[in-house]
Symmetry: D2
Subunit: 396 residues, 4 copies
Amino acid sequence: MSTRQPTRDDKFTFGLWTVGWQARDPFGDATRPALDPVESVHRLAELGAYGVTFHDDDLIPFGSDDAAREQHIKRFRAALEETGMVVPMATTNLFTHPVFKEGGLTNNDRDIRRYALRKVMRNMDLAAELGAHTYVLWGGREGAEVDTAKDLKAALDRYREGIDTLAQYSIDRGYGLRFALEPKPNEPRGDIFLPTIGHALGFISTLEHADMVGLNPEVGHEQMSNLNFTHGIAQALWQGKLFHIDLNGQHGPKFDQDLVFGHGDLLSAFATVDLLENGFPSGGPTYDGPRHFDYKPLRTEDIDGVWASAAANMRTYLLLKERAQAFRADPEVQEALTAARVAELARPTLGDGESYEDLLADRSAFEDFDAEVAGARGGGAVRLSQLAVEHLLGAR
Amino acid sequence: MSTRQPTRDDKFTFGLWTVGWQARDPFGDATRPALDPVESVHRLAELGAYGVTFHDDDLIPFGSDDAAREQHIKRFRAALEETGMVVPMATTNLFTHPVFKEGGLTNNDRDIRRYALRKVMRNMDLAAELGAHTYVLWGGREGAEVDTAKDLKAALDRYREGIDTLAQYSIDRGYGLRFALEPKPNEPRGDIFLPTIGHALGFISTLEHADMVGLNPEVGHEQMSNLNFTHGIAQALWQGKLFHIDLNGQHGPKFDQDLVFGHGDLLSAFATVDLLENGFPSGGPTYDGPRHFDYKPLRTEDIDGVWASAAANMRTYLLLKERAQAFRADPEVQEALTAARVAELARPTLGDGESYEDLLADRSAFEDFDAEVAGARGGGAVRLSQLAVEHLLGAR
Amino acid sequence: MSTRQPTRDDKFTFGLWTVGWQARDPFGDATRPALDPVESVHRLAELGAYGVTFHDDDLIPFGSDDAAREQHIKRFRAALEETGMVVPMATTNLFTHPVFKEGGLTNNDRDIRRYALRKVMRNMDLAAELGAHTYVLWGGREGAEVDTAKDLKAALDRYREGIDTLAQYSIDRGYGLRFALEPKPNEPRGDIFLPTIGHALGFISTLEHADMVGLNPEVGHEQMSNLNFTHGIAQALWQGKLFHIDLNGQHGPKFDQDLVFGHGDLLSAFATVDLLENGFPSGGPTYDGPRHFDYKPLRTEDIDGVWASAAANMRTYLLLKERAQAFRADPEVQEALTAARVAELARPTLGDGESYEDLLADRSAFEDFDAEVAGARGGGAVRLSQLAVEHLLGAR
Amino acid sequence: MSTRQPTRDDKFTFGLWTVGWQARDPFGDATRPALDPVESVHRLAELGAYGVTFHDDDLIPFGSDDAAREQHIKRFRAALEETGMVVPMATTNLFTHPVFKEGGLTNNDRDIRRYALRKVMRNMDLAAELGAHTYVLWGGREGAEVDTAKDLKAALDRYREGIDTLAQYSIDRGYGLRFALEPKPNEPRGDIFLPTIGHALGFISTLEHADMVGLNPEVGHEQMSNLNFTHGIAQALWQGKLFHIDLNGQHGPKFDQDLVFGHGDLLSAFATVDLLENGFPSGGPTYDGPRHFDYKPLRTEDIDGVWASAAANMRTYLLLKERAQAFRADPEVQEALTAARVAELARPTLGDGESYEDLLADRSAFEDFDAEVAGARGGGAVRLSQLAVEHLLGAR
């Protein structure tokens, strides 16, 4: 079916570090050779992707001198031009080098914090130059293993200071970047600061330029805490903070698997795509940005498996989109939503112009309310659940 | 030791529903008879508690008529007067009766939402009358099992509408109540809205009276998502939102155990008490409210076990307080904190008056920074971890 | 499609306690009235089920006198005869009454252990009389909350003694029953003995009548420990111990959800049905027993939702069966399995008649083996994963 | 206190790979230089350790030629002789090199399985030569990410074949080695075969030389599935299968943390040491082998932190031993155990010579048994729990 063939309009993007992962894990050496970013751009373009994203060190190896740096950028830019691929997002590697072992923006060592800020600013320059609109901050090393060995208040102060500084830099330079924080509960640190979508939303509300800072939630990161990803991004959307999204797969609370999207909790992936593509039942904020895959090809695979897995992400997304659209269009689903009074939740609890004094005066609301009768109504959720499963299975 | 004997100054409080839990669980009938709230007040006072808290239905059985209601309140008030116990917090039961099976403030049925608001307002009247300063909202039934069967945006809209309305009611009535949201990830619903401290912090930032709304985090609820409780309350404190606290014990992601405080993750409990009693290393916001135990005496226990468990909560807290004070006072701990540069994190990353332009001009921050040397510094966390363990064990 | 309509040949069975669950949960009262077992038998038969199963107390309320008991049995038997429904399995309730709060077969109190044995034996009499072949033992209360408050060796001794005694009883009475242990990690106890399929397999190997004792694994119980259910039943099958199975749904490590089968981890459900229906790729032991649903209709639902959920279990199973059969029959899947060398694993590592001495002498196995070349081979798993997802989605 | 100073009699052992871990993790490069095994032997001996253990590749880098191999072994042997350190256990690295990416003994590729067997046999020769009695098998790569891409029966067949072959090899060579399987649920594979203590116990019961094969359970590995480690080793002990033990720390279901022993769930560590040092309350099988630490010094630490963490493991163990001995010796604990009828569980449920027919004839066991009265007895667990906590805190 033609809709299953990815096109640029689908806005599928990939991190260079995804297909480029050499499959070194905590217990094993690399199983695949290094991949030239230029090749990745070409191959992903052929597969139907819309763009690529990168950490500074994905493109320009750590420690490269200026000449080498320029050469890497030049080749990359040429590949983008040849393929028409875009770079909607970029980010900084503040986690691989030992210098960041105790944190980047929240390292106890001030000189390392300063170095980290500089490293981010330098790559923001490049991000802006390459046309990125979103700058992701994953604070993978911002955290601790020992509760009593870290000043948790000072850590949040420094985190805020860092992001306020970077936001001001973007404003002053006219970069037009928006920042997207990427929460994760743990790994590589025992506990990472801002561990979930929620914690990041709370933190953002304290920032000087809160309007410029939103989220880049990742499926697997929320599921590592066994949280509902769709609920999480719904709250982010509702708060106007879903700036970017990382799609992948995970099997619950364990190490970060970064599976192909849909290859983890498939029913949850269906709900996520339904929300991204169809929005809330009652309308409201929607997500129009890239569908970004942040996954790792299985370590067992060779390079053919790498490209097969890249294609699998996009094809699965498109299949889920088909299923979700059919779900919403099904008259029986509409009927079941009505039976479950789903739309009634969009109606305010107080009437138009009604005050709580009016509510207090409304005897039908309390004194004459029959809780037994109201409590006996059926919720209608099981029927909707089964309709979703059957649509997902392509069985309707 | 005298410090291990609870006094009113320790501000230990208990929910009537804790010692009063009859031990009905999903697979078993009650193992203990009902407990008269008046007896609970007396026994808890004798054990050294400072106050009690309640859900409306703990004190006044659901469906009581006005005469019975007054009688229950009168007896309770007399018990408070006889014992000197206070009621610093109250809350509403929006979860036991079948009418709330699909939610209270976010129920799809508008009449149930209205009924829920009325039920809360009625108990706010009583809470204020009894001198409570904090009103807790645990939305145990606000959630869903089926992602595609709920309008997640509308749910958050209604949640906000409900809390905005209640806040206005408190203001207008001059009740002086502050609201404390109690997050929980799941149980009894498959997924509960505002599942963690973070999600609630994010949500609060959108409220009309955000200043009146904070958190009542519970140890076990965060640990059900395997999140670090001390990190969570640290962020709440940092955002000025730790309005109340629920102390208990839990063994990781499983059903809500509500064990005695310290009888779950003891090392984490130590860090929590250290933060509550000693504050952040660099100072800043502290918590001065009740130490509230929200636990359940094991179902295997009879009434003697109930009172033993109530005492155990307080005694364990006081022991941990002793240990935490000794930890902070230990010169070797101070020395280890210095070696780990913990205090350096409280120093801003940019100097006084320094702009990012100054940082960009500082070659020592980047161009001349030796990442290898900085990356080789030892973090000093293992020493602090062992010092904490040894203090906790009373071995120093 | 006709294959999606359940028939007796599908061997779908339900516990009386599933559709009959009144939806009392740890935080809420019952939302549904009691259901007459006779009605359940009729309704399930109409929906296409093959049989029902029961705990003694589901059929005969605890404490019934002999006359009442006979009357309950008589009515139930009549319903079975009228509908042609069978009772392939029965089990004992050793968890609801307070007497079992500290355990049944492993209770510290010897008189309670004796009572528990008698209660099981009494229901074995009925089970045999009703034609059951399998007797399930779920030790929901066999466990502990406090590690140092239980003699763990004695507990296992008593557990073994109990099951040895019951096995002998079945033999001597000529009941022909096989016992199926149902593992669960926790809930209602903090930790339950024999928490997983594995622990039960280990325990069984120590029994006097080990051949008569196998397993009744439940999807959700394994997933509460985030274990792979399909891997678990594969090991049970391999050890000849998959005597019965409990199908339902769960969303990872949290309270026991007992969702409709497939309404939790759908991809895992697909793999489970594939194994149950199609067996191992290389043949070997298969499961031919009832497909037993042990689930709970959502508490939000009324009685219509109860029957809708019962039907949903069967329909989802049949859809997954269709998808799994198509998966295995797809030539591209066969080709991908070959590319992944899946069948090669069925070939012994040592050749026919080859000893380890021969292996030691085979230089190609070690001295001349090129680990680099072998390590570069692609595993082919991502392609199989995507083929499974696409078959599951009905997209091939 | 002198008992807190480790001596050889404490039988503390360390893997060379623990202190030698260079702190490369999935998101970061090594933060510490390589450590010479000879230095590790000397330093650990100075700290009070009794022995060391190793994977073949820890001692002899993968791919070393015979001359280099002999040189490595010679230096190591000299260090052992100089220090008096022993090698009670050894194991094989079947996980680092890419050749094992899809498994060792259960790799789909038969030539890799053969190579894996040879690699194990070769190191068994060395283990025996160095005096080891236990040979550990951690099948870290024996597993899968895709359920339908692996023949699970064939995998278990091959696993059995491999271990049967190795057992025969040990017998024939007169090595006197016993094998200890080390279960782990996941990481590095998505799901590892034999994921828990239980699954390994079940598997062992099918082996040709089942008597030679037991377990090497690791604290953190069981806790990654949120299982109770003390319960797990209790069952292994009860089945005569606790051949070796890996002590470390973990914070629940997340990546494998390998923290210092006691720096995770401290209350559980107390129960574990209580069982190892004091045995079951009613006696029975005990563990007399090495107390082996399989942990990783935090990545934030330098070499001083490495040795501090090694010492911390031993000191924490000794402190817990002190606490556990005091707990058992406390008359109040003895009294509380009696009140909780803990010892009664060691008494058989059937009397001496009593048959189930006698039990059936005993009206006091059922007909005249008063379940209400028996159900009202208090369990006494909360008191024991608090006594354990207070002993652990050194507060009694």
